[in-house]
Symmetry: C3
Subunit: 144 residues, 3 copies
């Protein structure tokens, strides 16, 4: 009986990025999820690109994001000789590597009508390319 | 008709960590999942923190965990000068970096009443802070 | 009422790997998902091993995969002295590290009967061991 109220909601969310780095999207994601009026459910955010990624990280101190960006630039650096794939620009292959090290998808439970994000957790789109890009996330919510 | 048995179960699981490193939580997670009596379903474990993370890894040889801990300490090291975010202690920013490189969330199918973990797979909470912490995981199971 | 059509499908997919590196499995995964005839849903792919992993990456330029493989070999290298776990071969511990840095599980929404993969996204099994291996993925689809 309970299950007879089970349903799904889906959407595509467009986000324009203007520079590389972490762009907080918690508000857009939460607003969409809460507008679907689920009491309990499972939210999935899927990034339809390979040179931008998703990350949940601390949304308090700005320095945390600076350090995260610096770290990923250091372990997956731009390098004029390291990569065989360089025809889309010097920032393209590092973008794929940084995306591989982070997330293409995040799944977050919703309990008592709220996403279970912790107090200091924000959802970020992690843009790895230098030029502005129009990005699309697929959102999926299942529950009741 | 089939879908009319579909339902959800949710819970918050508290885990106290006493030291940095990999803490196996397979038994607690499995026990909770199996107690919900689902024949088939999808289990999601969500970590509500940004300085501890989740990892599925080999649970046979202890040396694998030692090497994993050493590896993450090497690629995302404590460093008195590297980070601009240092007011929460020298182990805080490396904790965020190690969490970014691993998982904030794991989703595991349940088939024929069992989580589909492989023979050698264990679920670990990867504590990145030195001091003891009270950690909370959100658990969500959907299925029938 | 809507929810009364909600259902699940599950399967185990066997894949034989013959060499280390990225093996595209998009076609096998899509074929299975589409054969289940869901209008909307959530597909989860779970890798039941700790020395092979999952990755979504660009499936256009072959050089991207070469560079990805080279990158992971560089940051988690084979090393005759670095690891305490070496009794399963020199490629075993790097395999665990590379698996820890990538994904054990991917969850992809299905909207209007199609997986929401972006134009350039392919699903890859990332084999980290040198010898041929028989690998198993668990597939789970929930929706209607």
């Amino acid at each position: 009986m309970m299950g007879c109220d089970m349903r799904q909601a889906t959407s595509l969310l467009s986000i324009n990025t203007t520079r590389p780095g972490l762009l907080e999207i918690t508000d857009q994601i939460s607003a969409w999820a809460h507008a679907q009026n689920f009491r309990a459910g499972l939210l999935t955010i899927f990034c339809r690109h390979t040179s931008v990624s998703l990350l949940i990280q601390e949304n308090a101190a700005r320095e945390v994001r600076d350090d995260l960006e610096t770290f990923f630039a250091r372990i997956a650096p731009e390098d004029p000789v390291a990569y065989s794939h360089d025809d889309e620009g010097a920032d393209d292959m590092p973008a794929h590597l940084r995306a591989a090290l982070t997330q293409v998808q995040l799944t977050i439970p919703l309990i008592e009508g709220q996403l279970v994000l912790g107090t200091w957790q924000g959802i970020y789109l992690f843009e790895h390319r230098r030029r502005p890009h129009a990005r699309t996330l697929a959102l999926h919510l299942i529950g009741e």
